[in-house]
Symmetry: C2
Subunit: 361 residues, 2 copies
């Protein structure tokens, strides 16, 4: 007779997504999983502007459903989300994407055609081509997109050398870990609109009493997000002459508060947000959910940057919609707080958001 | 009353894998889907050796199962199959891979750990690092691997210029379409062993009466395939001084006959195979299935090359296991025939193999 308790094996649900990613990172070189996308180490090859690569998977029922998303929008969103990670690394140019497609044999060709049409629309809008891919049958529709982009600037080894020069490197990557206490936190646009669009599409909130223009904009923000390559261009163009290249940042796909927390954590400092400066869309400011969705709604795909104040002010002046939302300060790595001293509450969002954990719950 | 017949939408099962890939190719630049992997167009960037990218998806129940494949072998096979496509394009160096992982929340961490361990083993053996990736919950275990490699030689624009020189380019990509009538067809090793390994693992054939060494080798060939970067190195090293860089080829992952047919089709000519020269593994030559598995078993991951005869003979002399299996001849694009004039039968394998279609049946 066996009286040993049966031990259940540890599952992915036990770990949650962040712990899973942390453990998978141990199979990669140190720091390789630190950013939205990966810089390719091509030293010695005479490679000019460094290449960046990013992979996203999208699963039916988790990331999209026929109920809320037309096939062309699935394709656009898949490409745009992936390209947003390239923009968040400082890329100015998209080389292309590969697509892994899994779908049951019963899937209508018209759905696949719609998805690839949407992917192509996004590539036509932001650059790059469909490079290749693979397809297979399977029980569930799934897309795996890998995007390759090029930085505007120098490769990492050239950058290290150039940063020693008084004038600094021309441009370089944007990294989560490149924020410093004293930096202003800026974001490239308002937040919460995509979450409102999702709520409208899912019938969580009624469109009836709402301004039709807002309804249309919110649904558009959810279905057709825009990777902010224009913000990278503006960032480079308005760089103060004396400033070395140092830009902390990521995109806000996982939510604004999560983006700020990630930058603060990687940069080894704390962040203080100013409640009076939350980047709410004016049209949705009267909604009860506005502040929560602004901080933790997710999928707005704006750039969140930590910049030396002169550069931040120049960017705000140059790029309409860009606003300062707070600052990085010395303190516990990754801790969030309000500028008025009010404590940060779990409901204000941050790293361990619902969105962050939901994929394995 | 509606008397119109209901039209069922056209599904992926109706199309089959090859027609699906043909239609998806229409979303890419012309010729982009022509090879095992994609050459990146990085002209103007000062990029030296051209980069190659390849994406494979592997789905549980289609490409692997717990019954026949341990987690570490799933990882190794996934990486090796993908790296084989890089080798088949002429790459000498692996930059790295990204991994998209989909798995149910109930999946044991130990399985994921095993898979990434196997991926890492393959990277440690052939070069490159885990660059990044993404993970999500889903109903079925699935891996999407994107591998990036570097050609040994020049980028496409430099190559075009160098090919005008008397001595030709140093090296370049291997392409399916670069075969010419008169080329010898060579392959880098014996075929059929991986299919025998699968038959043994699935209990389709009994191991009992078989030489234990053969059993072990066959299972090893199936579980731990080897990307033939060594064959690319030998190919470059033994190139005759006067020969321009022109190498037709692909890997034999879809079967030997399918590889030959693909090279012939892309090169606009026919192929004749010599039945006396089929690359059977001597130890399995007495099996009834040997010839069928050699031609259409698939997943041997050898290189199949179309080379000018002097170069082919040099490679055969330089690389043990490499043999001539036939030649390319003028004729209908993609048509296969036997050197003795016997007609090619459907059972001899070719493009429309069971393996080619099975993923959407």
């Amino acid at each position: 007779m066996d009286l040993q308790p049966r031990t259940r094996p540890e599952t992915l649900a036990d770990l949650g997504e962040w712990e899973l990613i942390r453990r998978l990172g141990a199979f990669a070189p140190p720091g390789q999983f630190a950013d939205d996308a990966a810089l390719l180490n091509l030293s010695g090859g005479g490679y000019g502007p460094a290449l960046v690569v990013n992979t996203d998977v999208l699963v039916e029922g988790v990331h999209f459903s026929d109920a809320t998303t037309a096939a062309a929008d699935v394709g656009w969103r898949a490409a745009a989300a992936n390209l947003s990670d390239l923009a968040a690394m400082g890329c100015l140019e998209v080389v292309g994407i590969t697509v892994g497609l899994v779908a049951p044999a019963s899937t209508p060709w018209s759905w696949v055609e719609g998805v690839y049409g949407g992917l192509r629309e996004a590539l036509d809008a932001y650059g790059g081509v469909l490079l290749g891919g693979d397809c297979s049958g399977g029980g569930q529709r799934m897309l795996a997109i890998t995007a390759i982009g090029r930085l505007a600037g120098l490769d990492p080894s050239e950058r290290a050398a150039a940063d020693q020069q008084p004038q600094g490197a021309t441009t370089g990557p944007i990294r989560r870990s490149d924020g410093r206490p004293g930096d202003l936190l800026v974001c490239s646009g308002p937040h919460g609109l995509s979450r409102l669009g999702l709520a409208l599409l899912q019938g969580e909130i009624a469109a009836m009493a709402m301004d039709p223009t807002l309804v249309q904009r919110a649904i558009g923000a959810h279905q057709r997000p825009v990777p902010r390559f224009d913000a990278v261009r503006a960032l480079i163009a308005c760089r103060p002459a004396a400033a070395p290249w140092r830009v902390g940042g990521c995109d806000s796909s996982d939510g604004l508060a999560a983006a700020v927390a990630a930058i603060a954590a990687s940069s080894g400092c704390s962040a203080r947000l100013d409640r009076a400066c939350l980047p709410l869309d004016p049209a949705m400011a009267s909604l009860a959910e506005a502040e929560a969705w602004c901080l933790a709604g997710g999928e707005d795909f704006e750039l969140v940057l930590a910049l030396e104040p002169t550069w931040a002010e120049a960017l705000i002046a140059a790029l309409p919609g860009t606003t300062a939302i707070g600052e990085l300060v010395a303190g516990e790595a990754g801790a969030l707080g309000w500028a008025d001293g009010a404590p940060w509450s779990a409901g204000d969002g941050g790293r361990a958001t619902t969105s962050g954990y939901r994929h394995f719950s």
